[in-house]
């Protein structure tokens, strides 16, 4: 058992995968000699050589498209898009190509590929370093979409994503890289090194498609992922509402049985994400819960999300759905 930050956990997953399988190659902007702007690939080039970990030109379409070719050749590329906000030039290669090559070739060609990217706000990154584009990927058939909320899951899920025979979008909540964050931006920063949640056991695979109940409770089910798992924990403590907090971990394929079992028990559901609301992944969750649990619901399902605006700079904390906004929603569903 080692205690590590999420950055170290991601680095450790790369290291283990590269040591175990020569086919695993890692590239992206600044990931080689420097080890990435967040240092998630630090040391990999020195250990595994330039053929297996290298810098890429600033061209996200190029990075994804080249990785698709490598995967079709027989390698297992793990690529980094420097910020999720930069992924759009590569979107055609992801949605029209990587996601469909197994299907359209009837399995003649496959694309085992992991596309990592830091997502979410909370670092004063403004509109080009703060976005949470998960719903853009969950809407594309043929992609799996994963978001960890702690170092242990980051390592375990990344290893499972690299093992997976299909393309996986791996979103890393950048505000969680160095420590847990519950939305109380005015409080001192906490490091993963100082909390039990920073413990990362060895040989601890975390399968894709399995949610984790972070807190058991009787009153209301909170569906969260990434940074919002920590926000949910804070809101739960501060309101005194007995929440059952489900960390989805994988958005597609989503763990519907765990969700449905919980909502049927609590009879209430609040969905929370940092991304914009309209057409967001929360809409999908609300639909799924409604379809599976309608007769168990005692109150309408609530959504707590980022606003339908670009991610602002100075107004970051007015935008970010923190424990206060989530807490208000929890109270509303309890009082309804």
């Amino acid at each position: 058992m080692a205690r590590m930050t999420m950055i170290e956990a991601i680095r450790a997953a790369h290291d283990e995968a590269m040591a175990a399988d020569d086919r695993v190659v890692v590239f992206g902007e600044d990931v080689g000699f420097f080890g990435g702007v967040f240092r998630c690939t630090q040391g990999l080039q020195a250990k595994y050589g330039k053929q297996r970990c290298f810098d890429a030109p600033i061209n996200e379409s190029g990075i994804v498209g080249a990785a698709i070719g490598m995967a079709a050749y027989g390698l297992k590329p793990v690529i980094e898009i420097q910020f999720a906000d930069y992924v759009y030039p590569g979107f055609d290669q992801i949605a029209s190509e990587a996601a469909r090559i197994r299907y359209r070739s009837a399995g003649d060609f496959t694309v085992p590929l992991v596309i990592r990217m830091p997502a979410g706000g909370g670092i004063f990154g403004g509109q080009t370093h703060s976005q949470s584009p998960e719903a853009i990927f969950t809407h594309v058939c043929g992609l799996k979409t994963v978001i960890p909320s702690n170092p242990r899951d980051a390592k375990g899920l990344l290893l499972s994503a690299i093992e997976d025979p299909d393309p996986v979008i791996f979103l890393e909540p950048k505000r969680l890289y160095n420590g847990p964050f519950d939305g109380h931006h005015d409080r001192p920063v906490v490091s993963w090194k100082n909390v039990d949640e920073g413990d990362v056991p060895e040989d601890d695979p975390v399968p894709l498609g399995k949610a984790k109940v972070r807190r058991e409770g009787a009153d209301v089910t909170v569906l969260a992922y990434g940074t919002m798992v920590h926000v949910a924990q804070a809101a739960c403590e501060e309101t005194g509402v007995d929440c059952e907090i489900i960390d989805l971990r994988t958005l597609v394929p989503v763990d519907l049985p765990t969700i449905a079992e919980s909502v049927k028990k609590t009879g209430r559901c609040v969905v929370v994400h940092e991304a914009t609301r309209t057409g967001g992944y929360g809409a999908e969750l609300v639909s799924l819960v409604q379809e599976a649990c309608f007769y168990s619901l005692e109150t309408p399902i609530e959504r707590v999300t980022g606003w339908d605006t670009p991610y602002p700079h100075a107004q970051e904390w007015d935008y970010f759905p923190g424990p206060e906004r989530l807490g208000a929603a929890l109270k509303r569903v309890m009082e309804a």
Partner: protein
């Protein structure tokens, strides 16, 4: 002084319906004029090759110059048979589309030499990333015509289970990557595949394919950057057939330079070749393949040819270009030119040619009969609706199982 109002320059082709085709500005060097450099040549020393045209066959049908002479008469006859087969195959499939047996078809008329000849330059295990107009690669690689037709008919024997638009074949075994249908995306994937081969310490090379119009896509630029940066073992093929549906080639590049010349900014050797000259096309592709395989990196090749037919079964070119233009195209017909060459060599005759055409027709008809016994898009056996849900992922996730049940399969 008030500034003169600006106006936007929108390029126009030299010839529209009603005009007389005029290719007098199209500079064509004599066959044999462009010499063959060593495969390890410094790209800067052959910059002029991006503005000239490698040609081997002269007007008399003789093979001249130092790009000539590498192929035996048997190989040339085989190449001719591939092109004849492709032409007949196109005729039959276009007719089948008109008869409602499939939804869509795109023919190769006039540019058969490009895919048929480049196929001969590649080795088993190499990988093409083709567009929808390189079926000659499959025919030359021995992929069964019946299987190609099964795909076009989306019938019960379609290896792609009815999922993909007709002509978007896939056969890893025959070095033919699944055709996307989106343009430009695969040019870049070819570079990635080649990088993969280099990373793995393999000896295989890749061939990317793109049309003149699609070189305007950002992925063309991305492919060139990656190929150049990592010196990928890849042959980058631009098929310049003059027309991108109704847009003449000038829309993709203005009137400046050539498509091949785009290689210069990347330090990639760039060659233009007569794409209707089977010998020249094969020789240049072999040069690029040898270059890639021996570690010298990518080559950009512009095959200068002409799309003599419609863009696809959904297109009517008489609306936007002169119907006389194809006949006026100065590089002639690839089949006629190779035929003349073989006759000059005394290795072929009009009689043998007619016999070969009849044999090609017979082969294609037999395959078509067998394919149609497996069904067509409208009649007979078809893929199961169940197949619609398979292979989105390797293992079907629960939500797709539920949807399949909901659909009743």
């Amino acid at each position: 002084m008030p500034a003169k109002p600006l106006s936007l320059h929108v390029p126009e082709p030299g010839c529209r319906p009603g005009d007389t085709p005029d290719f007098s500005n199209f500079e064509i060097p004599r066959a044999g004029e462009v010499t063959r450099p060593a495969v390890d040549v410094d790209p800067n020393e052959i910059r002029d090759m991006a503005f000239s045209i490698v040609r081997v066959l002269n007007k008399k049908g003789e093979a001249v110059g130092d790009w000539a002479g590498a192929l035996s008469a048997d190989e040339l006859r085989e190449g001719l048979r591939h092109m004849l087969t492709l032409r007949v195959y196109d005729e039959r499939m276009l007719t089948a589309q008109r008869q409602g047996k499939t939804s869509f078809y795109a023919q190769h008329l006039g540019e058969e030499a490009v895919s048929c000849a480049v196929a001969g330059a590649l080795a088993k295990g190499d990988m093409n990333f083709p567009t929808y107009r390189q079926a000659g690669l499959l025919i030359a690689a021995g992929y069964p015509l019946e299987t190609m037709m099964n795909q076009i008919y989306s019938n019960a024997a379609d290896p792609l289970k009815g999922r993909q638009l007709p002509i978007c074949y896939s056969s890893k075994e025959h070095g033919f990557f699944t055709v996307s249908g989106n343009l430009g995306t695969q040019f870049l994937q070819a570079v990635g595949w080649a990088m993969g081969s280099a990373i793995a310490g393999d000896t295989k090379i890749a061939a990317g394919w793109i049309g003149d119009g699609s070189t305007a896509e950002s992925d063309f630029h991305a492919a060139m950057v990656f190929a150049s940066t990592y010196r990928a073992p890849v042959m980058l093929n631009i098929v310049n057939n003059q027309w991108a549906i109704s847009s003449f080639q000038g829309i993709a590049r203005g009137g400046v330079g050539t498509f091949a010349a785009r290689g210069h900014g990347f330090g990639i050797p760039a060659i233009r070749v007569d794409g209707n000259d089977y010998l020249a096309t094969r020789a240049v592709a072999s040069w690029a393949a040898e270059r890639a395989r021996s570690g010298h990196g990518p080559t950009l090749i512009e095959y200068v040819t002409y799309r003599a037919g419609a863009h696809s079964s959904s297109d009517d070119p008489s609306v936007y270009r002169s119907p006389e233009e194809a006949a006026a195209w100065p590089l002639g017909d690839p089949i006629e030119r190779l035929k003349s060459h073989l006759i000059v060599l005394d290795e072929w005759s009009e009689e043998r040619h007619e016999q070969a055409k009849a044999e090609a027709m017979d082969t294609v008809r037999t395959a078509q009969k067998a394919a149609e016994a497996n069904g067509t898009l409208q009649d007979g056996a078809q893929p199961s609706p169940r197949d619609m849900f398979d292979q989105v992922f390797k293992d079907m996730p629960p939500h797709l199982v539920r949807q399949r049940q909901e659909a009743g399969f």
